[in-house]
């Protein structure tokens, strides 16, 4: 593997944002294939960090910094792919945000980084996002997935309201709505008729891949649940 890809891998693991950005740019200047750099330098690093966090070997700030470094490097590599007219890394567009009334965005940022590292175009609306903002952005960006996160139970009803609003606007079948955050459960996902749930940020990649590939023209399908709680 290229020395630059190895360096990028290390920079992401170390959470060195500036280095990751510079190495990503250098890899483009060196004529490396961006998709190869993404897979070897970013996806592999985020996979390792995700595993280490799950095993208790890495702490939250390390994972957060790695996610930030991965996101920055991804932006320049994806821009290069687009510039070249390629769509190799285009897994689909995801609109992501933290529900109204909540500002806890660590989990959302990790999902953003991991999805981005896996070729999804991620539009991040930030924190305290209203239902209308999610929907308007998804329409404008032609997104396939709306990912809404909350850590606090009092913001859970907004996830339900989002789905009800899509229903009322008769555009429910256009979007796959996935839920995340501490209090979200498969039971809640089923109850409000969302489309997907994953227990961890890493599992969200598989969830989104499955969701973008399914065809809902024939009507609603059961939600996809990955990594159910141990309860």
């Amino acid at each position: 593997m290229s020395d630059l890809i190895n360096k990028l891998y290390e920079a992401v693991i170390e959470g060195e944002e500036d280095d990751a950005l510079e190495i990503a740019k250098a890899s483009i200047e060196a004529g490396l294939e961006p998709l190869k750099v993404i897979r070897g330098g970013i996806q592999a690093a985020m996979d390792l960090m995700g595993d280490q966090f799950e095993n208790g070997e890495a702490f939250l700030p390390e994972l957060m910094l790695a996610g930030d470094a991965a996101t920055l490097a991804m932006e320049v590599l994806l821009a290069k792919i687009k510039e070249d007219g390629g769509e190799g890394a285009d897994s689909g567009t995801v609109v992501i945000g933290v529900m109204a009334g909540d500002h806890h965005d660590i989990g959302k940022n990790l999902v953003r980084a991991i999805l981005s590292a896996n070729g999804f175009k991620v539009i991040d609306l930030g924190i305290d996002v209203g239902v209308r903002d999610f929907i308007e952005t998804a329409k404008r960006e032609n997104a396939k997935i709306i990912a809404c996160s909350t850590l606090i139970t009092t913001s859970l009803p907004y996830q339900k309201e989002l789905i009800e609003t899509l229903d009322a606007m008769k555009i429910r079948e256009k979007y796959q709505v996935i839920l995340g955050g501490g209090p979200v459960t498969p039971q809640w996902t089923n109850m409000i008729k969302a489309d997907g749930y994953s227990n961890t940020a890493s599992e969200c990649v598989e969830l989104c891949k499955q969701l973008v590939s399914r065809d809902l023209e024939g009507g609603a399908a059961d939600p996809i649940i990955i990594g159910a709680l141990n309860a």
């Binding site: 702490f59 910094l65 009334g101 660590i106 850590l151 009803p157 209090p183």
Partner: protein, 223 residues
């Protein structure tokens, strides 16, 4: 005669020690498992399963704690839990009172004694002690600052259970260091009193033997 067991998080225990009835059988639990809600759930289930006999009450001194309580059940006893999303609501006196404080500023970081100081007296707010050990002071500061992104203020909740003066001082220093506004909230032990008194109403979840605690139990309006 029906017995009442109390499985309680140490963080809550220090806020209500004086009002726990003498005849309650107290099983105090460490706070640390909160970082791994799945493990906390397994741990709590093991304790519940180890309680002998039949038709007693098991009171859980826990909030929802990132769903750690969802799925808990007992074959032989009733489970009794406060209908609160976060233990801070227990310290404020009710879920609605907690919501009011939270709505004043969504970026409020709530503090009590055990969020600031560990049982052995270490300053462990946001795991600061662990970070210092692992990363050194400079990085520990940087990481703590990162974790506090979007927080505007810290609020120390005073339930009246102990002298908060030393914690006020620590909380104020913390706020100064991380550029947060500092405020104090007068707490209320009323909901903890209710939980221990068997005067259970809509603010309390009662789970019959054989049934499970569900997320929906918490989404039922307790206000």
């Amino acid at each position: 005669m029906r017995k009442t067991y109390l499985i309680i998080c140490e963080t809550i225990y220090v806020e209500c020690e004086s009002i726990i009835p003498d005849d309650m059988l107290v099983l105090k639990q460490d706070f640390t498992l909160h970082n791994k809600p799945d493990l906390l759930r397994e741990h709590l289930q093991e304790i519940i399963d180890s309680i002998p006999g039949k038709d007693d009450d098991i009171v859980l001194g826990y909030g929802l704690c990132s769903n750690a309580t969802v799925g808990l059940s007992s074959k032989s006893h009733r489970l009794i839990l406060p209908r609160i999303h976060d233990c801070i609501a227990l310290f404020c006196g009710s879920q609605s009172c907690y919501n009011r404080h939270k709505d004043e500023a969504i970026g409020t970081f709530f503090l009590t004694k055990r969020f600031i100081e560990s049982e052995d007296g270490r300053f462990h707010l946001l795991e600061y002690d662990t970070y210092i050990e692992r990363y050194g002071e400079k990085l520990a500061h940087k990481y703590t600052k990162m974790l506090l992104t979007h927080y505007e203020r810290a609020a120390l909740v005073d339930t009246g259970e102990y002298d908060t003066a030393p914690y006020k001082k620590l909380a104020q220093e913390f706020c100064e260091r991380y550029e947060l506004d500092y405020t104090e909230i007068t707490g209320d032990q009323r909901l903890m009193v209710k939980l221990f008194s068997e005067d259970w109403d809509h603010e309390i979840i009662i789970v019959k033997p054989g049934n499970e605690v569900t997320l929906l139990d918490y989404l039922t309006d307790a206000q």
